[in-house]
């Protein structure tokens, strides 16, 4: 049996119930804008990990430093900083200096037919994961959707070569933007198939949340090859690599 995860941007009991019960989501992450975040007001009890996101701006570097301080106050197992940007230079700077844990919307930052391998290589060295945002994909025009998928295919090709961790998140802001994580994996599969991978070949990416949480120091729950969850009678031993 496989467990999946997702990243959302809103608090809603109805949505949480749908995700946990019907969508069989094991890991659920919350992405919050650091401006709106107050450690006293936010109750992150239903979530497994927290991510503060920073959108690129003239002061984004100072925002990242502030968000790091905010994260230290919160007592949650896994936490990280995510950078939303469509500018190549901003992403390159953040990845080189190892300021962030993940970067989002990478396909939009590239010009057509001009994929830079260096950024992904640096991401592999500094343990920065790539996140594909399904919400932006749906909001794009037809021309940009084609560009997104084309660039995504090229990025995945390099990411496979360099062993960079790849994630897909719905980043839903309301109930009707939620997607089943099993369906979200088809977003990767559509591009993987064009590269010549089979469904089984691309199955490593179904376990992206394990990799992500492993990086976030959740070693108690995760063991290499086998994943045993605390508080459950039946330990999962069918997930092997």
């Amino acid at each position: 049996m496989r467990w999946y995860g997702d990243i959302i941007r809103f608090f809603d009991d109805k949505g949480k119930e749908l995700l946990r019960r019907n969508f069989s989501v094991k890991y659920l992450g919350l992405a919050v804008d650091y401006k709106n975040f107050n450690d006293k007001e936010f109750d992150v009890s239903g979530f497994d990990f927290l991510m503060l996101y920073v959108e690129e701006d003239s002061n984004h570097l100072s925002k990242i430093k502030k968000s790091k301080k905010l994260l230290d106050k919160i007592s949650i197992d896994a936490k990280g900083i995510v950078l939303f940007s469509q500018k190549y230079e901003v992403l390159r700077n953040a990845v080189d200096k190892h300021l962030v844990d993940a970067i989002v919307d990478l396909p939009l930052s590239f010009e057509m037919f001009n994929i830079d391998e260096v950024l992904i290589k640096k991401a592999a060295e500094n343990n920065v994961s790539l996140i594909f945002n399904f919400k932006t994909f749906t909001s794009l025009s037809r021309q940009l959707k084609v560009k997104y998928l084309r660039n995504m295919r090229k990025i995945l090709q390099i990411a496979c070569k360099k062993d960079v961790k790849v994630l897909v998140g719905s980043f839903a802001e309301n109930f009707y933007e939620l997607r089943k994580p099993r369906d979200l994996s088809s977003f990767l599969y559509v591009t993987y198939r064009n590269l010549g991978f089979s469904l089984k070949g691309s199955s490593n990416n179904y376990y992206w949340f394990y990799d992500f949480l492993k990086k976030m120091n959740m070693k108690e729950r995760i063991y290499p090859g086998y994943y045993v969850f605390k508080g459950e009678e039946n330990a999962q031993t069918d997930i092997k690599r």
Binding site: N22, R142, Y176, R193
Partner: protein
Amino acid sequence: MFLKVRKMLKPTLRDKRRYVIIKYLCERDEKLDIEDLISTLWKKSYEYGGYSFIANSNLNILKDLYFKDKNIFVVNVKPEYVEDLRFILMNITSIRDKRVLMYVIGVSGTIKSARRKYIEGSED
């Protein structure tokens, strides 16, 4: 006069198919007509898969297997194209200016097992 009887192909020569059971959740808990669902699914599959996808995948929406009470309908495709169908369903965000959430409950090889596993057991 000889009656022309169309002979059925042997099981090994027939196209394999999978029945994909889909559930939708509409805004204000409204029920949608099957014709609206068919038209949006065809429109989206033209957009994302193209003519070749529809021709090769044997995409077919089963009108008889629409359970309006449970918001469930069934689509059959070839096994190779199930993932493509998932991708197309994800991209459906609204029908007739109402926000819609669609997801796959399960995939089965026969209608009988689809009824037993996913439709009869599911909540209203």
